[in-house]
């Protein structure tokens, strides 16, 4: 199983890095959020930052945008799976001793790796926007781990939902259906304190909120909340487990 998983995982990663367009889009998308959404408040940005307890709104926004980006990488994992089904590659894999579960794991980890590529680019961009960071390696490790858990969890969720589909349109439709509610019902772009109670309830269990909160601890220097990391780890484990069994049962070959 390890041999097949490593082979298929590396295939996913290499295909991303060898496709400059996909790589560029992966990096540019969160950067645009930072640039346009972060700068869109114009003269009000200073007042907004002050209200959020920071000197720069982008400091607040960056962890949220990176967390949201981990959500969107799941869609790429699904698209890659559907591409393999449509071009017959899924059949090629399954005629070997490789199982459907291994295919699922390779797609989930591959999508997560693609998501993590965004971190260094976004950090450099944020520094250019005047954001300062903690220099503690432990803080960084925890943040990267949190984003990894979020990415693996969301990628697994997407893969489980689209396991039986062979339609190119499905990942986009599912993404639209899931991404927007999860993004806007989280504390990624603004604090959840002012949410109506029903939205606050969603935000309080939304993994994006936990990931954003952990990142802010690092960026704003308010410390690491280990419970946030624990929650994200549980989210990843649950989603991988669900995806694993759903794929074994419902992953369509073509």
């Amino acid at each position: 199983m390890r041999s097949q998983l490593w082979g298929l995982y590396l295939r996913e990663v290499l295909r991303t890095f060898r496709n400059p367009f996909v790589l560029l889009m992966t990096i540019v998308q969160p950067f645009m959020w930072l640039a346009f959404f972060g700068s869109g408040f114009g003269q009000y940005a200073q007042a907004l930052a002050k209200a959020l307890g920071t000197s720069n709104y982008i400091e607040f926004l960056l962890p949220g945008v990176l967390s949201t980006s981990m959500l969107s990488v799941g869609m790429f994992g699904s698209m890659s799976t559907i591409q393999d089904k449509r071009f017959g590659f899924m059949k090629r894999i399954l005629i070997t001793p490789t199982s459907k579960e291994v295919i699922f794991l390779s797609k989930a980890f591959g999508a997560a790796t693609r998501g993590l590529v965004q971190i260094p680019v976004m950090v450099v961009a944020a520094i250019a926007f005047g954001v300062t960071f903690s220099l503690s390696p432990l803080d960084w490790l925890v943040w990267v781990l949190a984003l990894l858990f979020a990415a693996v969890g969301f990628a697994s969720m997407f893969l489980a939902i689209t396991a039986s589909s062979t339609d190119w349109q499905t990942p986009g439709v599912v993404s639209n259906f899931i991404t927007m509610p999860l993004m806007f019902s989280s504390a990624a772009l603004y604090p959840s304190g002012g949410f109506p109670s029903w939205m606050k309830a969603i935000s309080d269990i939304n993994p994006i909120s936990f990931s954003a909160s952990l990142g802010r601890g690092l960026v704003l220097g308010t410390g690491t909340n280990w419970l946030d990391l624990g929650y994200l780890a549980i989210f990843a484990v649950v989603m991988v487990t669900v995806g694993y069994f759903v794929s074994a049962r419902w992953l369509k070959v073509e």
Partner: protein, 330 residues
């Protein structure tokens, strides 16, 4: 005597519900001896690809049983998959990867430890060694097909499934592939199950042929045995002017008459007896061209089903259609 490479017993595959749906394989019982090239000949939609899907474990069996390379397809699927190779109708490669990287990935999927010497040998054998580090997107269609066969052979399978391997290929590439199939069978000693709807392909390559139609195997044997079943000669006739079909049908010994314009295909019990009677019926100056053919596998199919292979079959597999379109654009 060694165990047969493939054995199916009353193998049935139904897509959709048990009441309705499509019966793709209808109680197929087949024995394919080891180290042979077995051709499955039939029109589009006959069940050829479904049989391969079922034997490779890609599709579930509805009822009946099958053994491949000595293992039960349902209960010992993993053992079967360790021992089979597959060459698809359309070439399926990772275009962003080189030939060597495609072989590396295949070695991973097959969980092979010492794969490099075998990969080098296969690249040499197929004449791809010089281009092994080039991305396969830069390969010609013939090279891509060769690489795909190399991938299928990497783990030294005992059975290779080739699903319409020459569909959409130009004539020279098709001939090259025929040589390869014959060569790998000889060089590597594998059993090849090949599906095709090209009569000449089945005749040129296969030790034994199974004729499949509407999910049923309707005949098996060597090409010579199958043709010997047809007690008829085929007379091809081209006339200058139209001739009445009834006139030809009335000649003693005529079994069947088909026409397209002034071209006639007349199936007769004995050409030797028919020809004098024909020239007694029509004037010799009416005849533009005439020839007598031995029965072919096409005749066998016609004899068994009353239809010609591919005469009225639409392209049912849309991926095969797209594969052809891609090749046409390349």
């Amino acid at each position: 005597m060694s165990e047969p490479a493939i054995v199916t017993q009353e193998l049935t595959k139904r897509y959709g519900s048990s009441n309705g749906g499509v019966l793709a394989l209808d109680h197929v019982s087949l024995t394919i001896p080891s180290a042979t090239v077995f051709g499955l000949l039939g029109p589009n939609g006959a069940g050829k690809t479904t049989l391969i899907k079922v034997l490779t474990g890609i599709s579930d069996i509805t009822s009946g049983g099958a053994r491949v390379a000595g293992f039960d397809v349902r209960r010992e699927s993993l053992e079967v998959r360790r021992r089979i190779g597959w060459v698809a109708a359309e070439v399926i490669l990772d275009d962003d990867f080189s030939a060597w990287e495609n072989l590396w990935l295949q070695s991973r999927l097959q969980d092979l430890k010492e794969w490099e010497p075998r990969a080098e040998h296969l690249l040499q054998y197929f004449g791809l060694a010089d281009r092994k580090d080039d991305r396969v997107s830069h390969y010609s269609s013939g090279m891509r097909k060769k690489l795909e066969i190399a991938l299928a052979l990497l783990h030294q399978p005992s059975v290779i499934f080739m699903d319409e391997p020459t569909i959409g290929l130009d004539v020279s590439t098709r001939r090259m592939l025929w040589d390869i199939v014959t060569g790998i069978h000889r060089e590597f000693g594998v059993t090849v199950l090949l599906t095709t709807h090209y009569i000449e392909e089945a005749e040129a390559l296969c030790d034994r042929v199974g004729i499949i139609d509407r999910g049923r195997i309707i005949a098996t044997g060597t090409p010579a045995e199958l043709k010997a079943r047809v007690k008829a000669d085929i007379v091809q006739l081209e006339t200058h002017q139209p001739v009445e079909a009834a006139q030809l049908k009335a000649i003693p010994g005529v079994q069947d008459v088909r026409s397209q314009g002034n071209d006639w295909q007349i199936r007769v019990t004995s050409a030797e007896e028919f020809l004098p009677r024909l020239f007694a019926t029509i004037r010799t100056d009416q005849v533009r061209r005439i020839s007598v053919d031995e029965p072919s596998l096409e005749t066998v199919f016609l004899d068994l089903t009353g239809r010609q292979i591919g005469s009225d079959e639409p392209m049912r597999d849309i991926r095969k259609f797209y594969a052809q379109m891609r090749r046409a654009r390349a």
